[in-house]
């Protein structure tokens, strides 16, 4: 069995599971986002009265943090009341940040766990050797009532990464290259495992970015076998009870792909699809109205660090708005202690409280018709960040910072050698 199958088997109370089988699994961690009041509606509609195990439930006020409309405020009010009534202590209110980064900061997702959140980017937790997957509101309500949910055991695709990363190239560029090569629907219903010697050079932040973005090729979950990088990261935060699980020798992958990143240039996903990927050099000079640095994809300390490195002693282009959103309170505090916030504010960045912010087009950086944005987030669908006639380029945090500086799409490598 593959490690992800072993996680599902354990959660289903079974010795073995087979690909394609539907199994009912006990969920180890269930997260609700403030976008989805329907979760509480569905809970009530299914006759829910008491949450099955409130210790396993985390409530995140991240997408609407802080509320911009009366409806958002009322939804958050109902969620807070639900947490109080149900004894859900893990209420991450509007000061805390984006769900996936909070879970990482607090060590709440650990190797071998089954984590289900009402957010599609729950694949991020493959960086910790967990089975993370997103569901809708009603599925999450079923977990609240029963503690369990059904899953189809996925096929697993192996993506092997090797070679040497050049200046100005990051995990975001690598995963964009992978998505551009394989396509936005390549992994639908399937799991992705990253392997290979390159992982040794990628820290938790970059591994989270790889796993996070597998959602953009349809993956059900992502997985990286826990190693010293994983354990060193988690040991600082929690007492590790289990090293997780491992894939049996001879496991047969549904497909295997190898990517050598030697010579890879920074990548961009051009409008309006995440698999519309090209070398950044094809778009050099494209004027940028807004550069957006943040989210569960690209708002970590390392991401703010590279932006600060590029912008130290320099200033954002007068034509360009540079919006920076630390992914969490923890990220914000660490970046502040390291001086990155000071550098970025002096360089002309506009800071937004840790949250999802403009990524999904709700508030805090909405685009007008005809505007062009470069973003460290994950999606460039039509209208994703505002008007359907705005254009969005998805790129690495370094490429976002370089564009903020120059007011146009630029190769960040020149600032990083």
């Amino acid at each position: 069995m593959h490690a992800v199958e072993k996680i599902l088997a354990r959660a289903a109370g079974r010795e073995e599971v087979g690909t394609g089988e539907i199994v009912n699994c006990t969920v180890d961690l269930a997260g609700i986002n403030d976008l989805y009041l329907q979760t509480l509606r569905s809970f009530a509609e299914m006759g829910g009265q008491k949450v099955h195990d409130p210790r396993k439930v985390v409530m995140f006020m991240d997408h609407f943090a802080p509320a911009s409309t009366i409806t958002q405020a009322d939804n958050q009010k109902q969620f807070r009341a639900f947490c109080r009534e149900q004894g859900i202590d893990l209420l991450m209110d509007i000061d805390q940040g984006v769900c996936h980064q909070i879970l990482a900061d607090k060590g709440l997702v650990r190797p071998g766990m089954l984590a289900v959140v009402t957010d599609s980017h729950t694949t991020t937790h493959g960086a910790f050797g967990a089975f993370g997957t997103g569901v809708g509101a009603t599925d999450l309500a079923i977990i609240l009532i029963t503690g369990q949910l059904w899953f189809r055991v996925p096929e697993v695709i192996r993506i092997n990464l090797e070679g040497n990363i050049g200046a100005g190239v990051y995990a975001k560029d690598i995963i964009l290259k992978v998505i551009g090569t394989l396509g936005a629907d390549y992994c639908v219903y399937r799991a992705v495992e990253f392997t290979g010697p390159l992982l040794e050079n990628l820290g938790i932040s970059e591994r989270m970015t790889l796993c996070n973005m597998t959602t953009e090729m349809g993956a059900k979950t992502a997985y990286i076998q826990p190693d010293h990088v994983t354990f060193d990261f988690l040991r600082d935060k929690v007492k590790l009870e289990s090293p997780g699980v491992t894939t049996d020798p001879g496991y047969h992958y549904a497909a295997e792909h190898s990517f050598d990143v030697t010579g890879l240039k920074p990548q961009v996903a051009a409008p309006h699809s995440v698999d519309n990927v090209a070398d950044i050099t094809e778009y050099l000079g494209r004027p940028i109205n807004q550069a957006f640095l943040g989210t569960c994809t690209g708002g970590r300390v390392e991401d703010l660090a590279v932006a600060a490195r590029i912008l130290t002693g320099r200033h954002v282009h007068p034509r360009t708005r540079f919006i920076v959103v630390p992914a969490s309170k923890g990220v914000f505090l660490e970046a502040m202690a390291k001086g990155y916030i000071q550098i970025l504010v002096e360089a002309g960045a506009t800071f937004v409280t840790p949250s999802c912010a403009a990524c999904l087009g709700t508030h805090q950086g909405i685009l007008a018709a005809g505007e062009t944005c470069i973003t460290a987030s994950s999606r460039n669908f039509p209208g994703r960040m505002g008007h359907a006639e705005a254009e969005i380029f998805v790129a690495s945090p370094a490429s976002v910072a370089a564009a903020a500086l120059e007011g146009k799409i630029a190769d960040p490598a020149q600032y990083l050698t």
Partner: protein, 170 residues
């Protein structure tokens, strides 16, 4: 819910994401009739004006990709869409729609065989799709036993209520 359905087709391309089906700016809404007012807003502004109960959506690959928002399924169901026929579906959208009792069929090659306004008949159990306007036929992949059970119950909510001994209605 399960059986023979007839309706008019709205036709879209590949990778229709949930932001196009239901834009992020309206995610604070919960009531289905309000959610329905923004259906397909980013891909087809005329959809809301034209859609009638019993209509169908036909699309290319990866319909419903992107966010986990159940609103994307709610908005189509509350608009009266009877079934979505696509070359493939993103998995969270698939679960969300089935949970609501909105049938989805994976229909290889269908996007090129249907034009907007064509009249289709769909036999869910048999997976048979007939384009009554052109005569073309498509065979859908069969629904799994589990999915069929959810649809036969009218969605996962009545099913869970029944399993928990709470269902009073027939």
């Amino acid at each position: 819910m399960v059986g023979m359905i007839k309706g008019r087709a709205f036709v879209y391309g590949a990778n229709i994401d949930t932001d196009q089906i239901y834009p992020g700016g309206y995610l604070d809404l919960t009531d289905p009739e309000l959610v329905a007012q923004h259906a397909m807003e980013r891909v087809d502004p005329d959809f809301v004006k034209e859609v009638k109960p019993g209509d169908m959506i036909v699309a290319g690959a990866n319909f419903g990709c992107g966010s986990s928002r159940e609103h994307a399924a709610v908005t189509l169901k509350a608009s009266g869409i009877a079934v979505v026929l696509a070359e493939s579906f993103a998995r969270i959208f698939y679960r969300n729609a089935i949970n609501l009792g909105l049938p989805l069929l994976v229909c290889p090659g269908i996007a090129s065989l249907v034009k907007r306004g064509d009249l289709l008949s769909v036999d869910l159990a048999a997976g048979a799709v007939i384009n009554r306007s052109s005569g073309a036929t498509v065979t859908a992949q069969p629904l799994s036993t589990y999915v069929m059970a959810i649809l036969e119950n009218g969605g996962v909510k009545p099913m869970i209520r029944k399993q928990r001994g709470l269902l009073v209605e027939g």
